[in-house]
Each structure stands twice: as structure tokens, then as C-alpha cells.
Symmetry: C3
Subunit: 280 residues, 3 copies
Amino acid sequence: MMIHAYRSCFRNLRISLARNYASSSKLVDVSRDDKTGVSIISMSRAPVNGLNRELLVELERSLKEAQDERRRGVVLTSSLSNVFSGGLDIMEMFKKDAESMSKFWSALQDLYLTLYGLSVPIAAAINGSSPAGGCFLAMCCEYRVFVDGKHTIGLNETNLGIVAPKWFQNVMIATIGHRNAELALLRGTLFSPQEALRIGLVDELATDKADAISKCENYIASFARIPGTGRYLTKLGVRQELIQWMHDNREVDVNSFVTFAQTPEVQKNLELYVKSLKKR
Amino acid sequence: MMIHAYRSCFRNLRISLARNYASSSKLVDVSRDDKTGVSIISMSRAPVNGLNRELLVELERSLKEAQDERRRGVVLTSSLSNVFSGGLDIMEMFKKDAESMSKFWSALQDLYLTLYGLSVPIAAAINGSSPAGGCFLAMCCEYRVFVDGKHTIGLNETNLGIVAPKWFQNVMIATIGHRNAELALLRGTLFSPQEALRIGLVDELATDKADAISKCENYIASFARIPGTGRYLTKLGVRQELIQWMHDNREVDVNSFVTFAQTPEVQKNLELYVKSLKKR
Amino acid sequence: MMIHAYRSCFRNLRISLARNYASSSKLVDVSRDDKTGVSIISMSRAPVNGLNRELLVELERSLKEAQDERRRGVVLTSSLSNVFSGGLDIMEMFKKDAESMSKFWSALQDLYLTLYGLSVPIAAAINGSSPAGGCFLAMCCEYRVFVDGKHTIGLNETNLGIVAPKWFQNVMIATIGHRNAELALLRGTLFSPQEALRIGLVDELATDKADAISKCENYIASFARIPGTGRYLTKLGVRQELIQWMHDNREVDVNSFVTFAQTPEVQKNLELYVKSLKKR
């Protein structure tokens, strides 16, 4: 019994250590290039960079760090070979209690406010699939480079029987215009690289991840001679309405998410989706 | 004298009967295709589908019915051979009293709220001219297919010395962007099918009415696998600001319409227009 | 010593006279074509039509005059050969006291409200460089014709370490859309004529100034048959939100300008810029 307790304790300890290790250095990998002054922030939560609460918190922490360190800029990318981010981790809303879901959603709001209003230039090197929340993260950056090939990008929430939150929708409207956004949101369109370029959802295509990162670094380098404060205030000006919307609606938004996610219809759709994932 | 009175009375009766008949079954013709689940709602008020109060009410009733019956979708079109809709019936604002004009305008607002926020997919098969209010109805749908040829579409109110209401303007801005909408509204531009396609005022061209309806049905069918509730909430999200604007401004909007329509300058412009119509 | 004082006084007098002369008849030159009914308003403050308070006031006065005289329309252009306007006169914010800066900024707001809401058609014949405030004036018109060649146009404020005011930003967003405006504002992009045309920042190119004015006159003539009141109310409708914003934010906007302009960082950036101008 003592031995068993010891083992159990030891095992918990190992898990706990593993988790700490992961949260400090593996959910998000940060690489600083001191020649260019750019930080490369890579999401590293296999298998698909599902945005669970831990990853959201870790990502926001890394962004704030780059901001506090006054880096020249940030490239947001993924350590995984075929996916930028698969979006919000469905398991954070499937059969969860209200408090847990509230905390998850608040972390998403925090990340949004930090990412969308980041003081330093930030570009997304989209090196794989980027549905739903993955597309949203990319749209919150200032510039998007998509690796050409078979992967797609878009807010495809309607396909899962759920709804892209109002602020996801608004960021898409700001990116590709009202008409294109409406149609894309209703259809849950996942755009090919060529289509995404044509519609303005991404700014450039790249041949591979290295090329995408290099093009993002070029974007950041284009601001080398532009004073940072004026640039930052300009960004806040252009993005002011959407940022203010979130400050004005945080609580309402959390509650409407939790209420919606708990409806039987949504839970049923999520269940079907989770089952389909397991079959793959 | 008696005979004359009798004849006059009889003639009025016939007109009245014709009107009742029209209002109950002919102002709007609804055809349900049970294979596709689509309702085809056709405006049928000769000669130009002028949007008088009766037609507005009847149209809204048909849309609500399709919504309540949870149809797969709706195609909005016209039973007339050369016109989708000629827009608001000028006779509803020419030499009318304030109460009558208020009721007319309220009916237009009601139709807008139902049409712009319709829960099921709706596409316009624009099979003829679509000026002013006709263009507005089409823009409130989710998708527009225009029969190629000599007909035109646009908010041409300034040409008549009147003003497209703020909400007509806003729906146009949402459809083709602020810059294009401003120029089109100032000029009262009526776009050819090719121009309308290029500027995004319509989404596809068709060879004839049947082709237009078929393309609208394809649009509706593209949502076959998309759960309805999430899709509907997404639509309400994207259209929220404009819908909210109307809820917040119904009374002000009615009053400003009535006040504007009653100004001598507008009445004079309407009179010139009515005379020019009679000369044709 | 007496002689020196006398000379100094005489020199000041000459400068003062020159200034008065300029402010009454030469800062802005107005030419009325009675055949077309168009007023051509030309900014004439050498060397670069720097928008100091005097020029702002004079320009607004000329616009109001054209409006009161119910001219067919206005062409805004420059009397200088290589510049439309170099934008706000930096000397109005460099080492100035708060009161002086407030008056300057209020004059800019007044001009904006008159120009952006002008009741008669107005087009800009951009016959030279048009950075910052110069670009802003052009964007406030209804139509822009840019003389093709080596000159550029854009809101390049971030390059000077300053910030295009929120309302400059909003007018740019209304002109070229949110995404294009954000990127242009962050980068402080100065667009070539071809690029400006492609992105929609101008509507036509011209071979020279006479051609630009002629194309602006064609724009104005296109409204010959459109009643003025409905056209004007339509314009106010489309531009309502931005005009209302200014009415709601005049004081806050003045204060935030003065506060920002007085920060050491901005004053330092302005000093560097002023020095670089003197070296040319």
C-alpha cells in the first residue's frame, strides 16, 4: 500500500513535471534571431495545434514577452508539418461545465486582445491547414503568407453546426470585405492558397515553410525605418472599433458562448464531429 | 342619373373584386418544389411589380410562410417578362396623407426585417429591370443571379430627385463596398448585367429566367449539409449592425420619410415623373 | 544700432505685408467658369501648399462661397507645378504652444466638415505630389484624377514618426477598404499613379493638369440632370457616420492632437524632419 501510494505519487509527479516542461517550452516554441531581431513563435501542440486553454495562455504569454522585449517583429507559425492550427480544441466545449468553458473563452479573448493589438509587427507563416480558430489567429496578424499546396484556410464553423463568434466574423470582414466575408461565413468556405490570395485572405504565397518565414521577415524588415510609437498608434487607430467591441462585450460574449455551446443541438453536432475524428 | 350611378358603382365593384382577387392570390405567386424543398416566390403585380403596400405585405407574408415551413430555401423572382421590380410604387407617396405614407413605410420596414434576416437561404433570380426598390430587394437576398441582356439594376433614386433611404444605402455598401456604393448612389447608376457582375452587385449571370432560377437553386443546394441553426445565427451575426439600426430607428425613419416625401420639391419631381410615365 | 533696429523693423513689415497680401488673394486662387458653372479652387501657397492655419481657413472660405453661390461643382487643384499639397504645415506643430496648436487643429476640423459634406459635386485634379494632408484633402472630394508621372499620393505619416488622425484613417478606409487602408497606413505607403489607380485611391489618370481638370469637369457635368437636393442628401447619408464622428469628437480630437504633438518623441521626429527639409 505504501509502495502503491509512492508509485502513484511518483507517477503524478512525472506527469506534473512533463506538463510543466510542456507548458514552459513545448506548447509554444520561441526562437529569437538576434541578427534580424525577429521572434519566431511556433505552436507545437501535436497533433493539430488544437487551441486548448493551455495553448491559448502560453501563446499570449509568448506574444507579450516579444512585445515587452521590443522585438523587431514576430512571425507566428507552427512546428507541425501539415497544420498551422486546427482551431479551437473541440474538447474544451464538449461535455464541459460552464465554469470551465468560461475560463477557456476568457483565455481566447485575452489572446485576441494581445494578438490583434500587438505593438510590434506580426506576420503569419501559414505552413499548413488553417481552419476556424487557426484562420482567425492568422487574420489577427498584420500580414499572411500561405505555403502553396493542398492545404486550406477559412472560417468553416457552419460546417460543424457551430457559429464563428461575432469578433471572428468582424476580423474577417475587415480582412476581405463584407460581401466576401458573408458568403465565406455562410458556406464555411475553406479556401485553397490560390483562392485565398485572390480574395485577399492571405497576402502572399510561399513554396515552403522556410520561404514563408522569409517573406514574413521581409514584411517585418519593411518597417525598419518607421518609428515604432507612431506605427503602433496607427495600428490601434485602424483596429480601434473591433478592440473596443471586445472590451465592451467580454462578459456578454462569454455567456453567449457558454449558453450556445451547452445547447443539445450543438453538443450533438460536436459529438458527431468527435466520433468522426476518432474514426480517422 | 340613376343609371350612371349604377354603372359607376358596378365599375367600382369590378375594380374592387379584381383587387381582392389579386391581393389574395395573384400579387405574389408561390410555387413549392417538393423535390428540392425550394419555394419560388414570384412578384406578380403588373405592369412593373411596383411595391405598393399590398404587395409589400403579401411578399412579407410569403417569406414568413416559407420560413415557418422550414423550406430548404427561397428563390425570389418575378412573374413579369421584362421586370424584376420597378421599385417602390410612386403612387404611395404622390399626394398621399401622412398616415397613409406612414403605413406604407412601416410595411416596407417590416418586409426588410423579414427578408434581410430570413432564416433560410434566399437567392434572387433577377429576370428583368431592377431599379431602386427592386435592386434593394435583390440586395437583401444572400445571392443574386441576373439574366444577361438589356436590363439594368441599381439604386437610381437621385435621378428621380429623391433619396435612397439610409438603410438601402447601407445594404448597398455591405454588398459592393463603400467607395463603389457612394459613386453609384450619387450618380443613381443603373448597371448593365456585365457591369453589375464586375462590381459585385450580382454574383452570376444567366441566359434566361429558367437558368437564373436553376443557379439560385444550386446556391441553395450548396447548403444541404450545413446545419440550419448555426448558419442562421452566422447570418444574423454578419447582418447584425444593419438589422439593429432598423430596430433603433424605425420611428425616426418613418417620420423622415414622410417629411421628405411631403416637401414641395419632392412632390414636384414625383409629378414630373408620373406625367412622364403616362406619356409612355 | 538705431539703423539696425530700423532695418529689422522694415524687414518685418515687408514680411507682414507679403503675408497679408497672400492671405487675402493668393493663398487660394478661385476661377469661375461661367459656361460650365464650375469653380476651380487652386491652392497657391509656395513652395508646397503646406496646410498652415491661414491656408486652411482660406480654403474653407472658398468652398463655402462656391456652395453658397450654388456653383455646378468645384475642382480642387494646385497652382504649383509639382505639388498638389505637401500636407499639414509641420511648423504649425513644431515648438508651438497648446493654444496655437488647438486653433490650427480646429481650423483643420472645420475644413474637413465643409469639404467632406460639400453640397455641390467636388473633384480633385491632383497635379503633383500629394502626401499626408494633401492625400486627405483629395480623399475628401468625391472624385480624384491624378496626373500620371513621377508623383505619389498617400498617407505617409508613420514615416515621419507621427500618426494619421483617426478621421484621416476612416476616410481612407471608406475610399480603398479596410485591408488596403491598414497596410497603407502602417507602411505610410506613397502610391505611384498606376498603383493609386489600381487600389482605387484615385479614379482616373490624366496626361497633364489641363487634362485632369477637364476630367474633373466631366465628372461634375455627369450630374447635370440630377436634382441637387436629393443628390446632396444622398451624399450626407453615405458620409453620415464619419461626419457624425467628428461632431461627437471635436474636443477630444483637438486635445489628443495637442497632447501627442507635444510629446518629446514627436517633437524630436519633427525636428529631424525640419532639419532634413532645410538640407535639401
